[in-house]
Amino acid sequence: MVDEFTQTLLGLMVAIIMLGMGASLTPRDFYLALRRPYGLAIGVISQYGIMPLLGFVLALTLAVPETIAIGILIMACMPGGTTSNIFTYFSKGNLALSVLMTVTSTVAGVVMIPLILLLYAAALDLQIPREDIVAVLIVLLVPVAIGMGIRKLNANAGAVIEFCGSILAAFFIVFIMATWVPQNWQFLRDTTPSTYVAAIGLGLVGITIGYFFAKALRLHPRNARTVALETGIQNGPLAIAIVIFSFPAEQQQAVMAVPALYSLFIVIVSTFVTLVFRRANTAAEQKMPDSLL
């Protein structure tokens, strides 16, 4: 359960996060992506191939109620989240690639998310409000476009919004902890362990598969780390916004369980993965002299 005030606040925060995402972009980024569709294809496959399939398998194999299963699927079908960029940065990954994958998967999401969600939902015989989800996605693309526009008009305003967006994305987790967790404490205690397994497994297994997928394609270690994080880290706030705005109040609590828990646990999972990555490989990076300041 989420009260109306919290609900409005969550929606507003997601809008600002998306605004920040837009402000981190220029038309040139899209041009660069289209020039090298190979990298783009990897992003789309990992984001809308691997992750939804993983979600489907989890929903199928774990004994969870229908509403929880819908939550797993929605979470699995989300595009990359902005937090992936922060973790990519700390893993010494390819930041430009990370931003690009996040953005292209977000834009492609308008078509891909309803399509794939519908496919897997039908396979699991679940009911989802397809039109509402499309509407939410389109509405959330508006701030992305506005962000891009601001960026184009004024680099300073763009950079400030981009910065606020990523700060807010981090704060979002704190906000969920402070509002959603206490409001749903009883539910969290009563729900089956399978819900937790799904919420943690989606991120952890997603990152692992993403890494070996990138390795199989013989990507540069720096890019492999990036693809791995990008695959596993989903846009949690977007999933929560979709649930809030597309599902009737009586279903919300259960459907939102996995997205909310995922959003909390992915921070822990990603921190752990980042530490492993940092230790594993720091060489092979193109370097300018330290002193060229």
Partner: protein, 574 residues
């Protein structure tokens, strides 16, 4: 018309003067003021951070702010004409304000590398004896340790985002303080730069101070800058560059390069540090003089930090060193969307490798023109003339400059013979600060000896063979590391290479190559086989070592001397 003793003048473009007799300005403050009056509210300096945050100062603003600083230095800090003031900061908006203010006060600027350790700073301060220091907060924690030998009474502290709009300035400040923790508390008595400016302003308002009176007596022969250099002998020496040296050198360089550049319209990317003489004279002085807009990059590393600057500003000119051009041509974003407004670029500081120049040409469709000079020569001595560049050369002498080669006895050699390059012209320094003995070592009459081995052809094109001290002698044959490095750089699997000589029982010295691979599959045999295709046998590296990176100087010059020292230490240990 070409002059018989200066054949290169035939290759000057139409309208290029062969001599620049008298500089157009009395001194640098005179230039700064008159340019500011011409371009007034046009944008002069923009500092662009990696995320696109930026701040801009117009010509009029820089002029007003540097006036205020000059008054502060003279009236409040009590400095006198000729007193040294050290400036230690990366490229940022405070840099031109500080430099122009110091010069307007009639003081002498001492450029200090911000990345110096406290000991290196102490050595330089002890030698230059500055009366004031203007430093960026990121490095101010080194002051107590650095000023033990020579206490500095006036410390002014500035920050990277100084003069930015309030929001970005605040965010950068918070991020630096709490996230990067790159700003440490300043433990000495100090004043913030904006407060110093305010103090200067209130003096101007109250006492009607005439700023121009401070530099009225300053002539071309007066020292403007102490520019420190390791030089050929390894001891840090301050080259005394005069107002005349710098004004004339700026005019000399622009006379040769300036044909395509339009007054008041150029946008120049300044990724090289301004405390380095090349960027100081060419970017800061010459493009300011031209009414251009300088895009200042505080930290070009990693190179993706330049992406926003290239996106947001229509860069028409840039200066760089080989390492920078090489790095950019290896960046995907740069290759896919090269700058569209670029006219050409200038390279200096180190030899530009022909493979790098060719890749640059292919990607951007423009030329990188190579220049040559030293700290002691303000720095420009030669530049490649646009459209008449010759591969393997560093171009022709700039106007009013003579170049000749000398043998070991200081005797001038005829054209076509290889020897130590000497130069004569109005850009040659006044000497080393407080080191007449060192000055004597590098001068042969009015010729300055560069320590570089080179040769001049009959048209006056100069080719650098190598640094005098870097030459390797293999069984009596001279091997010049530059030539080998150039060949190695042409191998697609080689990212960077450095070549030195190491002691060898059989040959006296052996050639050793240090290579950073682009492709980990590259091995010693492949390297040697490739070199054999391009070089005579004695030049082929006998030893090859693969590294993750090479030691580099503050502008990205590969430091062979460090590799040499390492090898000698290893040998001594064995």
């Amino acid at each position: 018309m070409a002059q018989p003793d200066r054949p290169w003048t035939a290759f000057y473009g139409p309208g290029v003067r062969t001599d620049i007799e008298a500089a157009s300005y009395r001194n640098l403050p005179d230039l700064i003021r008159s340019v500011a009056e011409t371009y007034g509210n046009a944008k002069a300096f923009t500092c662009c951070l990696p995320n696109g945050m930026n701040g801009t100062l117009t010509f009029a603003q820089v002029d007003e702010m540097s006036d205020a600083l000059a008054v502060y230095l003279r009236e409040v800090a009590g400095l006198q004409a000729g007193d040294r003031v050290a400036v230690q900061m990366p490229n940022c908006l405070s840099f031109p304000v500080a430099v122009f203010g110091i010069l307007k006060a009639g003081c002498v600027l001492v450029n200090v590398n911000p990345l110096y350790t406290a000991e290196e700073m102490e050595r330089q301060f002890t030698d230059a004896e500055p009366h004031a220091l203007i430093i960026v907060d990121m490095f101010a924690d080194k002051i107590p340790a650095a000023t033990r030998g020579h206490p500095i009474p006036n410390v002014i502290v500035t920050r990277i985002a100084e003069f930015f709009p309030v929001m970005p300035r605040g965010i950068v400040g918070l991020v630096q303080k709490y996230w990067d923790q790159s700003v440490k508390p300043v433990e000495v008595a100090h004043l913030r730069l904006p407060d110093a400016l305010d103090a200067g302003r209130s003096h101007i308002a109250r006492d009607h101070v005439e700023v121009d009176a401070y530099h009225q007596p300053v002539t071309h022969d007066d020292i403007a800058v102490l520019q420190y250099t390791g030089g050929t002998t390894g001891v840090a020496k301050g080259a005394m560059l005069t107002h005349g040296n710098l004004i004339l050198n700026m005019e000399q360089a622009m006379e040769l390069l300036g044909g395509d550049l339009k007054k008041g319209e150029e946008v120049v990317l300044t990724a090289l540090p301004l405390y380095h003489i090349f960027a100081f004279t060419v970017n800061l002085l010459a493009f300011y003089w031209l009414g251009g807009r300088n895009i200042l990059i505080p930290n070009p590393r990693p190179l993706s930090n330049l992406k926003r600057a290239f996106e947001n500003y229509k860069v028409t000119w840039m200066s760089g060193v080989n390492t920078l051009f090489n790095g950019l041509t290896n960046e995907i974003w740069f290759r896919d969307t090269p700058p569209r407004h670029l006219k050409f670029a200038g390279a200096g500081g180190m030899a530009l490798q022909s493979s790098v120049a060719a890749r640059w040409r292919e990607i951007t469709g423009t030329e990188v023109l190579q220049g040559y000079g030293l700290t002691e020569t303000s720095p420009v001595l030669t530049f490649e003339p646009l459209g008449k560049a010759r591969e393997g050369t560093i171009g022709i002498p700039v106007p009013s400059t003579e170049i000749a080669c000398f043998d070991d006895n200081g005797k001038r050699l005829p054209i076509g013979e290889t020897g130590e390059i000497g130069a004569r012209g109005p850009q040659i320094m006044k000497g080393y600060w407080k080191k007449p003995d060192e000055t004597e070592k590098v001068m042969a009459g009015d010729w300055f000896l560069t320590g570089d081995i080179g040769v001049i052809d009959e048209d006056g094109y100069v080719r650098i063979v190598d640094r005098k001290k870097d030459m390797v002698v293999v069984s009596g044959f001279n091997v010049y590391p530059n030539e080998i490095e150039d060949v190695l750089a042409g191998h697609p699997a080689v990212l960077e290479a450095a070549v030195i000589g190491v002691p060898d029982d059989a040959a006296g010295e052996a050639v050793k190559a240090f290579i950073v691979r682009a492709d980990p599959g590259l091995d010693t045999d492949a390297v040697r086989a490739f070199c054999k295709e391009h070089l005579t046998a004695y030049k082929v590296p006998k030893l090859v070592e693969f590294r993750d990176e090479l030691p580099k100087s503050n502008v990205g010059k590969i430091l062979r001397k460090e590799l040499r020292a390492e090898q000698m230490a290893q040998l001594a240990a064995e």
